[in-house]
């Protein structure tokens, strides 16, 4: 008999149904939470400078992020907050404010796919500094990464550490004693908006064209800039 398939009475059916609905609800909740999960946002503290309000953003780029992220071998940016290094690529910046960026790059040279992106654009003063030396363009083969917010017209190429430099960094976060290049520059955020930032140097070793993995995953070489 067909009825034998459903031996339960109505209360039991309702109980099974309620359990099922609750289970599906919990699963959907977990699923949605998983999808919304990304790197924790970071808001650099405001600093009072001569030219009015400004913020300092201090970053380092490392060849392998190690224990700080699920994919230990991937290149990544880190931010410095109260003297310690965190992995965050989601930054909140105030609108119409000067942002003084310092990037300590510990990674080697990868090379740009498009050499045009080796020239800086969109900076206050028109140039950036490598270890204090003002520069506007670097050779494509010297580039390790770029810092680029295309929505704001900002792009800065990042000089790579020479392969034969002593004291190469092994483990992220990299200590300042290890070989690195220091890049400093300032840009103005402009009006409020939601932007992405990315790296244009194909630095994802092991992926076709060097674009993949860390180059296509928020939290490594990509992130958001929320200008508020």
């Amino acid at each position: 008999m067909r009825g034998a398939i459903y031996p339960a009475g109505v209360p039991k059916k309702v109980a099974i149904l309620a359990t099922g609905v609750a289970l599906v609800g919990v699963l959907i909740g977990l699923y949605v939470t998983l999808l919304a999960t990304g790197p924790a946002p970071y808001t650099p503290p405001a600093a009072q400078a001569a030219g009015g309000r400004s913020v300092n953003l201090t970053l380092q780029t490392v060849a392998a992020v190690g224990k700080l992220a699920p994919n230990e071998n991937w290149v990544s940016y880190l931010v410095r907050e109260h003297g310690t290094w965190h992995r965050s690529t989601v930054w909140t910046l105030p609108a119409n404010t000067l942002v003084h960026v310092t990037i300590y790059n510990f990674d080697g040279k990868s090379g740009l796919r498009n050499p045009f992106l080796g020239q800086a654009r969109g900076l206050v003063g028109g140039a950036f500094a490598i270890n204090g030396k003002p520069t506007s363009v670097i050779a494509p083969d010297d580039a390790s990464h770029t810092f680029a917010i295309p929505g704001l017209g900002v792009i800065v190429p990042i000089m790579g550490v020479a392969d034969d430099a002593p004291h190469q960094c092994d483990d992220a976060p990299c200590p300042m004693e290890t070989a690195h290049e220091t890049i400093t520059f300032t840009f103005r955020t402009g009006k409020a908006g939601h932007y992405r930032w990315q790296c244009f140097v194909p630095c994802a070793a092991g992926f076709v064209y060097g674009f993949g993995g860390p180059m296509q995953t928020v939290g490594y070489m990509d992130g958001y800039v929320d200008v508020v």
Binding site: N114, P115, F116, G206, Y209, G210
Partner: protein, 278 residues
């Protein structure tokens, strides 16, 4: 109950009246507002093309909707008829032939019309590959569009191969977009210009357009190209010849430092790395 002949006349009459009402609306109200607007001659002829498509569709659409509406009113089972069947009709040769002839005529017309438009407009603004079948006569300004993950950059080979991050075009010129890519497949879509051409690595995909008025247009990537595909958009400008000359001179000064690093202008580029390993 009317005879089936009078049903037919009613549907024909309603279709004719409906078409007579809708057709002027399509031609005079909807047609001029069809995309992509009248920014360039190519875009204008796309608007015309869209209007022609609508005009050809209108009688068929009106007929089918009138028929459905009529059938659902006149041929509904009335109370008391629940147990009864309809007439056992299995086909009607003349109406089938009429349908076949009219749809075939419409389809052949559309194909011939589309082909004519395609040839007359030198590819109708679509990417026509490295050797387009028809090319515009006279002087053509080549502009290279380079897609990369995730930004378009532009090169002007007749201006020393200068590369820029923004697209500016002189008004009243024939333009040949040479669209290529450095990595994945992108698609260069300049909406108001009526131009769309895929950017394939290693391919020089050419699309022609003629600028007609000083304006601003939107550029978007129209082929899913990875993480920031949705952010791959910018704004281009059509400016006067004088403004263009000063703009390009300013860009040559601005990007003079990087010029020595740029590869020689080529239809496509082969940057490293190419494979996964390495």
């Amino acid at each position: 109950m009317w005879s089936s002949r009078s049903h037919g006349w009613r549907i024909a009459a309603l279709t004719t009246i409906g078409t007579a009402i809708v057709l002027p609306l399509v031609v005079f109200v909807l047609g001029p507002n069809m995309p992509p607007g009248k920014g360039t001659p190519v875009a204008t002829s796309q608007v015309t093309d869209n209007t022609v498509l609508l005009v050809v569709m209108t009688p068929f659409t009106v007929f089918i909707l009138v028929y459905l509406g009529y059938a659902l009113t006149a041929f509904r089972a009335k109370p008391g008829e629940e147990g009864l069947d309809g007439a056992p009709l299995r086909g009607h040769f003349r109406s089938q032939v009429a349908w076949l002839v009219s749809t075939t005529a419409a389809v052949l017309f559309l194909a011939i019309f589309g082909t004519a438009e395609l040839l007359a407009d030198n590819g109708a603004g679509g990417g026509a590959g490295p050797n387009p079948v028809t090319k515009p006569g006279g002087s053509v300004l080549p502009v290279q569009v380079i897609g990369q993950q995730w930004q378009f950059t532009y090169r002007y080979p007749t201006f020393g191969g200068v590369e820029t991050a923004t697209l500016v075009l002189p008004v009243g010129r024939k333009i040949a977009f040479h669209v290529t890519s450095l990595d994945a497949i992108h698609s260069f879509w300049a909406y108001e210009l009526g131009v769309k051409a895929d950017a394939n690595p290693g391919v020089d995909n050419i699309a022609y357009v003629e600028t007609k008025k000083i304006s601003t247009f939107h550029v978007r990537c129209a082929e899913l190209c990875g993480l920031w595909h949705g952010y791959m958009s910018d704004t281009g400008h059509v400016v006067s010849g004088a403004d263009f000359a000063s703009w390009i001179a300013a860009r040559k000064r601005q990007f003079a430092p990087v010029m020595k690093y740029l590869p020689k202008y080529a239809p496509s580029y082969n940057p490293d790395p190419t494979f996964r390993a390495g």
